[in-house]
């Protein structure tokens, strides 16, 4: 028979995911009441937007074992798609967001289906090339996209009479999206489809003998991740009311990838950590402006060399090993 204390611990263990999500949601709900500096809240909003992108990318890298260096392009399609639809064409914001996400699905299928037919890392190149194409179009097609100087005057999102026009209001909106996506991903990896993906991540041949359709699963995760990036892009455009091509070049894609690696490939919770760390790092270190590339690169290299399972998971594991060995 379990003692009362054991029972509590067992309950906590059993419901650890749900409890963590609830705790985090309450924290996020209360946070703007404590933190009144709009700049800080704005930063956390940016983190939420990146979390949306990186969640999908993390599923794709961690479970499909493939590299996408083009998620900034899907992010761009979301942002510019929403910007053009609402500002130039005057369409309502929410339906445009959905329509743009659907367009992204089609685009992701067009890029992903041929590239994922092959084993090997062709998708890395296809997505990288795609990102360069999208970026060049954003810069060159200035009558539609505003060219290098950007696209401004994008309207704020509204919900009934509520206008998401300041950081705090936007905080609730964007973190709701991020938490829903987080829950979705957490549930996805525990569903039948998710178990199939996990098997695929471990060993593709073994998974396919067990009936997992490798190619189809990879394409599905890729499309899911592109869609999340597109929605994040739409939110980004409506949040800042301004977008410019520099937020969507290949180096942004590389930064997304660094967030995934820092958080741990295939770790859903790690995504929160990776996105936060890489977004906040320049705020903490003043000198980082000159050394930004080197610091980002070194973080990536050192983590991959010594803690390839991600910063937190890697540190926890090495501490555990130390404790086990010292007994």
């Amino acid at each position: 028979m379990l003692s009362a204390k054991d029972n509590i611990f067992y309950f906590l263990y059993l419901h650890r995911t749900g409890l963590t999500v609830t705790f985090l949601s309450i924290l996020l709900l209360l946070w703007p009441m404590v933190e009144s500096n709009p700049y800080t809240v704005g930063l956390s909003n940016l983190i939420a937007i990146y979390v949306l992108v990186v969640l999908g990318l993390n599923l794709f890298i961690g479970y499909a074992g493939q590299i996408s260096l083009g998620h900034a392009a899907f992010f761009a399609i979301g942002a510019y798609g929403s910007a053009i639809a609402t500002t130039t064409l005057g369409l309502p914001a929410w339906p445009s967001m959905i329509a743009v996400a659907l367009v992204t699905v089609l685009v992701a299928l067009a890029v992903g289906v041929p590239a994922l037919k092959l084993s090997g890392h062709y998708l890395a190149m296809a997505t990288l090339g795609f990102n360069i194409v999208v970026y060049t179009v954003l810069v060159q097609w200035d009558t539609v996209t505003g060219g290098p100087s950007g696209f401004s005057g994008i309207p704020y999102l509204t919900l009934g009479s509520l206008v998401f026009d300041n950081e705090i209001r936007f905080h609730y909106l964007v973190w709701t999206f991020a938490m829903v996506a987080l829950l979705l991903c957490l549930n996805l990896v525990r569903s039948g489809v998710g178990r199939g993906l996990a098997a695929m991540a471990e060993d593709e041949t073994a998974a396919s003998t067990l009936g997992v359709d490798i190619r189809r699963s990879k394409v599905k995760v890729f499309v899911l991740s592109a869609t999340l990036a597109s929605i994040a892009g739409s939110l980004f455009a409506h949040c800042y009311a301004f977008v410019s091509p520099e937020s969507f070049n290949i180096f942004v894609s590389v930064d997304f990838m660094i967030m995934v690696v820092v958080g741990g490939m295939g770790s859903i919770w790690g995504t929160l950590f990776g996105a936060s760390l890489i977004t906040l790092l320049p705020e903490w270190i003043e000198a980082l402006d000159t050394f930004k590339e080197i610091v980002h690169g070194l973080i990536l290299v050192l983590i991959l060399l010594f803690l390839p399972q991600g910063l937190i998971a890697g540190l926890v594991e090495s501490v555990r090993k130390k404790i086990a060995l010292s007994k």
């Binding site: 890298i61 074992g65 590299i67 890029v111 041929p114 590239a115 037919k117 092959l118 090997g120 890392h121 062709y122 890395a124 190149m125 296809a126 990288l128 090339g129 795609f130 360069i132 194409v133 060049t136 179009v137 060159q140 290949i250 590389v254 990838m257 660094i258 690696v261 490939m265 000159t290 050394f291 930004k292 590339e293 080197i294 610091v295 980002h296 690169g297 070194l298 973080i299 990536l300 290299v301 991959l304 060399l305 010594f306 390839p308």
Partner: protein, 288 residues
């Protein structure tokens, strides 16, 4: 006859760029064959080649021929250093981790170049004179001739290297079957380091040849390198004749598009062609 002259001019330009893409593509293929990974530092080998040439000429005051040699040798050593210090110590042998590592090292290299040589664009003098040569009504820069001649020489040397030298044969053995190669006593680790060195040499050579045409900056290699990568995949990733075909083909398509269609989207052509090829013939033109 004007149209013909234009065409000739575009073909010359395409061949020159194509030669550069070919050298870079070959560098990608060498590492792909021995290690099975995409080596993204190839991109920075190109910039480094130009940087070393610039420093050799203006900081050390070397004559052109000497500076050229030193630059290529320098990047070769850098290639080996990347493998020794960056890729080999990895605890994980997972290809995904190794590819990410090369991306990380590439970012570090680019940051370091930005610190050492600054952000400004620099001009590198051409290897040969500046007076354009006339050929059948089209004018061609001596530098372009130098690029073509040196690239052809490099490819001939490479063929000899892979067919006639012990190291080259060992490299091919590792490429075809790593376990079997180590069984017959080939030091696989050293061969991998050598393949990075060769990739460095090819990238460095590309950088030395191209920077007098494009001007030099710390990130000049990124777009060139990625086009080289596109060329490698276009020809069939890992295939050497494919790399040559892909490189030259890409160069020609690019310059003809820039000449006849639109020069604003010149940089996009390579990647559109690549996406189309992946769609229609996913293993590349000469892929197995």
């Amino acid at each position: 006859m004007n149209g013909f002259h234009d065409l000739l001019q575009f073909i010359f330009a395409g061949l020159t760029n194509g030669a550069i893409y070919t050298l870079i593509a070959l560098g990608f293929c060498v590492v792909q064959n021995t290690m099975g990974i995409v080596n993204f530092t190839q991109v920075d080998f190109v910039s480094l080649g130009g940087m070393f040439l610039f420093s050799g000429l203006f900081w050390a005051g070397l004559p052109m021929g000497m500076a050229l040699f030193v630059a290529v040798a320098g990047v070769t050593v850098m290639g080996m250093a990347v493998e020794r210090l960056g890729v080999r110590p990895s605890r994980s042998k997972d290809h995904l981790v190794l590819i990410f590592l090369t991306i990380g090292i590439s970012i570090v290299l680019r940051g370091a170049m930005k610190l050492i040589w600054g952000k400004n664009r620099m001009a590198v003098p051409p290897l040969a004179g500046e007076e354009p040569l006339r050929f059948a009504g089209a004018s061609i820069l001596p530098q372009a001739v130098a690029v073509l001649v040196i690239t052809v020489l490099a490819i001939v040397l490479l063929v000899f290297f892979f067919r006639g030298t012990r190291l080259g044969l060992a490299m091919r053995a590792v490429a075809s079957n790593q376990a079997a190669a180590s069984v017959v006593g080939i030091p696989v680790g050293r061969i991998k380091a050598a393949s990075f060195a060769l990739a460095g040499a090819l990238g460095g050579l590309a950088g030395v040849l191209v920077t007098p045409i494009t001007t030099l900056s710390y990130d000049v290699g990124v777009l060139l390198g990625l086009k080289g990568f596109a060329a490698a995949i276009l020809g069939g990733f890992g295939s050497f004749p494919g790399a040559v075909l892909g490189g030259v083909g890409l160069g020609l398509v690019e310059s003809l598009t820039a000449g006849y269609v639109s020069s604003a989207y010149k940089d996009v052509v390579a990647f559109v062609v690549l996406l189309l090829v992946l769609f229609a013939r996913p293993k590349g033109l000469l892929g197995k």
